[in-house]
């Protein structure tokens, strides 16, 4: 019988076209479905063009195409990438198929390259076909803008290159097909998730931890799906046309994809094939997986259980640590069960579990006792600027939430002094946070209960810009007592002096107005909580004319500059109650501004802001102006918190005996010039 060999050449060890086309034929539903979904966009264009009632323009088509790239194109690419990788590398997860493939006369590099390229083709070939179809539709409908269409193709191909390479990379680490999408999904956002978990862990144990800016940025870059989602958008060009905003970053990730593909090959070359069916196929990844799962479980379960039982647990580190250890052990043994494929892991795994517990406990002790000097204030020479944010001060008005960007030497030094004082007193401050002593009161000053130690709680944020370009952030929960103010170098005293710097008073109130240069745009002015002793009710009064409003604004700015108005109080104490009126002055600024929108077109829109200033008895110019304008007189009085308390608590004639200052009595003219609105 005659016989003939089909080919006399030796096998190509690096590539096999039979396998490539076999993959294309076997898995046609994958690239077919991807192509059909992508085709919907140009089909919509076609139908719009054919519809007599609709009009398809080149601008609209370009915007729709680029708008499709993110997030829809991004999501499709991420999903079909993992499906493609699961298909072409599925043979690795079954010992029978492993035998078939790896007994073939081709090197592992050849199998990988052929599989990788065939999977990539599942994504790129439909993109190329849809590109050509769209090109045709746009050309026929006379709406062709080639550059947006090319950007669509480039971005989509780059997405495919990155996500498919990443999926292939993941495919080589797992031994079970069900584990692949799980790993892929988790790894896509792992860095971001880990950063959140570590931050949460630090918040639990490290006093003062707020964020880790450098790590946060790195975590975002290592979470490609999140970065690409955020960066993707459509921007009109200055000379016309449209641009996909995330194109540069997409190209960068495409290169990262190629690097991952190369790394994948290295992993494949050493992958033990007998691990088909295991959750993790590569030996050195197993402990990483096990302790990674244990750590994530420790933090998430620990925090969850701590929140659940918070009311039953004492403060401090130990309850939290105990719950974290419980969570960590659950995660550790769960990971062991997955790796060993048995529930009998307790006897073999106890050593690792013990090591985990010791590591968690040691970490918690180091963090909780600040053994690494976490709370040390940075050196003055390292600080370029600082944002101090968070202290809540009284009266409750537009300057209550203190937030300042400070660059002057003197200001930075003041903030550093505060930071050093917090670091110095941190044990005492932590103790105060964990247990509230019975002899301090978190309520307001009561004139009939003098001498009580009042307390206030607040969070103070430090955000330093350092000379090396990095940032350092801290956040401290503070429980401050009125008695702290007795010591000039206490945290409360230093904070008090920072928030009461008269040079910054106007800025605190009028930051938004100054930014818009809108001091000449005062549209409304009113005073609320003006007391009428006859009716014993509170009224709002409005300032009628523009000249009166501007006169009032000048008086306010004069008082702020002189430090007679805007005094900030950390505590609701006697000084605050005696000085601050119930009345607030509301100044509303309004103007029409012109801005360029995201499509490069100038648009007008209304801008307004209202500044609320708690009036104080020391604000002589402002009070004089109010009297002059007839807004306050004998029948329209400003009442301090102390006076209000005494009146409402039944002290005879307390509020009625309020003495108007000399100047105000004189300033009242024929009658109120302002509109008076009774309060309900």
């Amino acid at each position: 019988m005659p016989s003939a060999t089909s080919c006399s050449k030796g096998p190509n060890p690096w590539w096999n076209s039979t396998l490539y086309f076999k993959n294309l034929r076997r898995f046609w539903p994958i690239w077919g479905s991807y192509g059909v979904i992508l085709l919907l966009v140009p089909l919509t264009f076609l139908l719009t063009w054919l519809d007599r009632n609709s009009s398809l323009t080149a601008d609209l088509a370009a915007q729709d195409l680029l708008g499709f790239v993110s997030p829809m194109g991004l999501i499709l690419s991420a999903v079909w990438s993992i499906i493609s990788a699961m298909a072409v590398f599925s043979y690795l997860y079954n010992s029978r198929s492993v035998q078939l493939y790896h007994a073939l006369p081709i090197r592992r590099e050849g199998l990988y390259l052929t599989g990788y390229l065939s999977g990539l083709s599942f994504l790129v070939l439909p993109l190329a076909a849809v590109f050509l179809f769209t090109l045709g539709v746009e050309a026929v409908s006379d709406t062709l803008m080639l550059w947006p269409l090319l950007q669509w193709l480039i971005a989509q191909v780059c997405f495919a290159l990155f996500f498919y390479s990443f999926a292939s990379f993941c495919a080589l680490f797992v031994g079970h097909i069900a584990a692949l999408p799980v790993f892929y999904g988790i790894l896509n956002i792992l860095a971001f998730g880990m950063y959140q978990l570590i931050s949460e862990l630090f918040r639990q144990f490290v006093y003062g931890y707020y964020s880790w800016p450098a790590m946060s940025a790195l975590a975002q870059w290592l979470s490609p799906f999140i970065v690409l989602w955020r960066e993707g958008g459509v921007r009109p060009g200055e000379d016309g046309g449209y641009f996909f905003t995330g194109l540069a970053i997409t190209l960068l990730y495409a290169q990262a994809g190629l690097a991952l593909a190369a790394l994948g090959l290295l992993v494949y070359r050493t992958r033990p094939l007998e691990t088909a069916g295991d959750v993790v196929a590569v030996k050195w990844v197993r402990p990483v997986f096990k302790y990674g799962v244990a750590f994530c479980a420790a933090v998430t379960l620990g925090i969850f259980l701590h929140e659940l039982f918070r009311s039953l647990l004492p403060g401090g580190m130990w309850p939290m640590l105990g719950l974290m250890l419980l969570g960590g052990l659950i995660g550790y043994f769960a990971a062991e069960m997955l790796l060993r494929k048995t529930f009998r892991v307790f006897r073999r795994g106890w050593k690792g579990a013990l090591a985990l517990c010791l590591a968690l406990t040691a970490s918690a002790l180091v963090m909780n006792n600040d053994l690494i000097g976490f709370n040390r204030a940075p050196s003055r020479y390292d600080v370029v600027s600082v944002i101090l944010d968070g202290p809540y001060t009284l009266p409750s008005d537009s300057a209550s939430h203190f937030g300042m960007y400070l660059t002057e030497d003197e200001d930075i030094e003041a903030v550093l002094s505060l930071h050093r004082a917090i670091a110095r007193d941190q044990k005492m401050l932590i103790e105060r946070n964990n247990s509230r002593p019975g002899d301090v009161y978190y309520d307001v000053y009561l004139p009939d209960s003098p001498g009580r130690t009042l307390a206030t709680s607040m969070t103070v944020y430090f955000d330093y810009e350092l000379a090396d370009g990095s940032r350092l952030t801290r956040a401290y929960d503070l429980q401050l007592y009125t008695t702290d103010l007795d010591a000039p170098d206490s945290v409360a005293s230093l904070l008090n002096s920072i928030v009461n710097d008269p040079d910054r008073m106007e800025e605190q109130y009028f930051y938004a107005v100054a930014e818009q240069d809108a001091f000449d745009s005062l549209a409304e002015a009113s005073v609320n909580n003006v007391y009428n002793p006859e009716t014993q009710t509170y009224y709002n009064v409005n300032v009628g004319s523009e000249a009166d409003r501007n006169a009032l604004l000048s008086a306010v700015r004069s008082d702020l500059a002189a430090g007679r108005l805007g005094r900030r109080y950390l505590f609701d104490d006697q000084a605050r109650s005696d000085t601050c009126y119930l009345a607030d002055l509301n100044l509303t600024f309004f103007r029409t501004v012109t801005e360029t929108d995201s499509y490069g077109q100038a648009r007008e829109h209304d801008w307004s802001t209202t500044v609320t200033i708690g009036l104080q008895s020391t604000a002589t110019d402002t009070i004089a102006c109010l009297e002059k304008l007839g807004l306050i007189d004998e029948n329209h009085q400003l009442v301090t918190h102390t006076e209000d308390y005494l009146r409402s608590s039944g002290e005879p004639g307390a509020a009625d005996t309020v003495q108007m200052e000399e100047s105000s009595t004189e300033a009242v003219d024929d009658g109120p010039q302002a509109e008076v609105i009774p309060l309900d």
Partner: protein, 300 residues
């Protein structure tokens, strides 16, 4: 020739292959036998280049097999657990193998269609019966025109006629083309008919490796009736692997050739003495008896 030298393979600390040495002569049919878990399939996966050894070498005609496509193109294998693509027919798989094996012989494929006439070559292989799937595997493997054919439990599931047919084809290839066949099986009676070399594996090592005739000459079964009812004390240097008796007839399995053992027992002036050849199954059982793998009399 296949040469395996000091082959070691460990799974999670368990040494499945423990410094294994083996030589399969060219153009021979080599039977690989051993108890369950001895490492037969593990060894075959190294010889087909699927698994990478921890240490040691696996060579075909002096060249390493692992990651060597030129050598693997000359090796075809039929594993005990067959795998084909989900909806692939025999014809599809032939086309697939044709793309990998340069010597894939379509002429032979056509010729063997008559031998495997029961197979619908357009039908998905997974829809065929187990025996038919095995036939398809032989059909495809033989068309690769391999120099080395590695078979793991190859005729399991085949009917007697097809077994004979398949062995006939294999022996034809050995005779005509010098094909080397390495076959692992528990069917010792069948191996005895076809193998010219046998290796016995136990605990990851090759215990004995000889030609079948050498193996049979090295062990002898003696049936002896002595003048006394009891078995006399035999010389210490006579290696008796097993003793049993029915009435006065003693059956001894003794290491050595039949003539020597007969002469040595003759000094006891037995009433009756006969030397019988051992089957491969008996050799397997009694050799492994020394490895603590004897058939145990268990009363339930």
């Amino acid at each position: 020739m296949i040469e395996v030298k000091e082959l070691v393979k460990t799974f999670d600390g368990f040494r499945a292959l423990d410094g294994l040495n083996m030589t399969v002569p060219t153009a021979s049919i080599y039977g690989l036998v051993g108890p369950n878990g001895a490492g037969k399939s593990t060894l075959l996966r190294h010889i087909t280049g699927v698994w990478r050894q921890d240490s040691g070498t696996v060579l075909a005609d002096g060249a390493p097999i692992y990651e060597n496509p030129a050598v693997k193109a000359r090796i075809a294998s039929i594993p005990d657990d067959l795998y084909y693509f989900l909806s692939a027919s025999t014809a599809d798989m032939a086309a697939f193998y044709r793309g990998f094996y340069p010597r894939f012989d379509m002429g032979r494929y056509e010729a063997l269609r008559d031998v495997f006439s029961g197979i619908d070559e357009k039908r998905a292989i997974r829809r065929l019966s187990k025996g038919m799937q095995k036939q398809a595997a032989f059909w495809l493997a033989l068309c690769c025109r391999p120099d080395i054919l590695v078979l793991d439990e190859p005729v399991d599931g085949l009917d007697p006629v097809m077994r004979r047919q398949v062995w006939s084809l294999l022996m034809g290839d050995v005779a005509e083309h010098g094909t080397t066949v390495l076959v692992s099986s528990h069917n010792l009676r069948e191996l005895e008919d076809v193998c010219d070399h046998v290796g016995i594996l136990s605990r990851g090592r090759v215990l004995i490796e000889r030609s079948l005739s050498d193996l049979q000459e090295n062990l002898v079964k003696m049936q002896v009736v002595f003048q006394e009812k009891e078995l006399p004390k035999l010389p210490n240097d006579m290696e008796v692997l097993h003793v049993s008796h029915v009435g006065r007839i003693h059956t001894l399995i003794v290491r050595g050739n039949a003539t020597d053992v007969t002469n040595r027992l003759a000094v006891y002036a037995p009433i009756l003495m006969e030397a019988l050849p051992l089957t491969l199954e008996e050799i397997f059982i009694y050799e492994l008896g020394g490895e603590d793998y004897a058939v145990r009399d268990i009363v339930l």
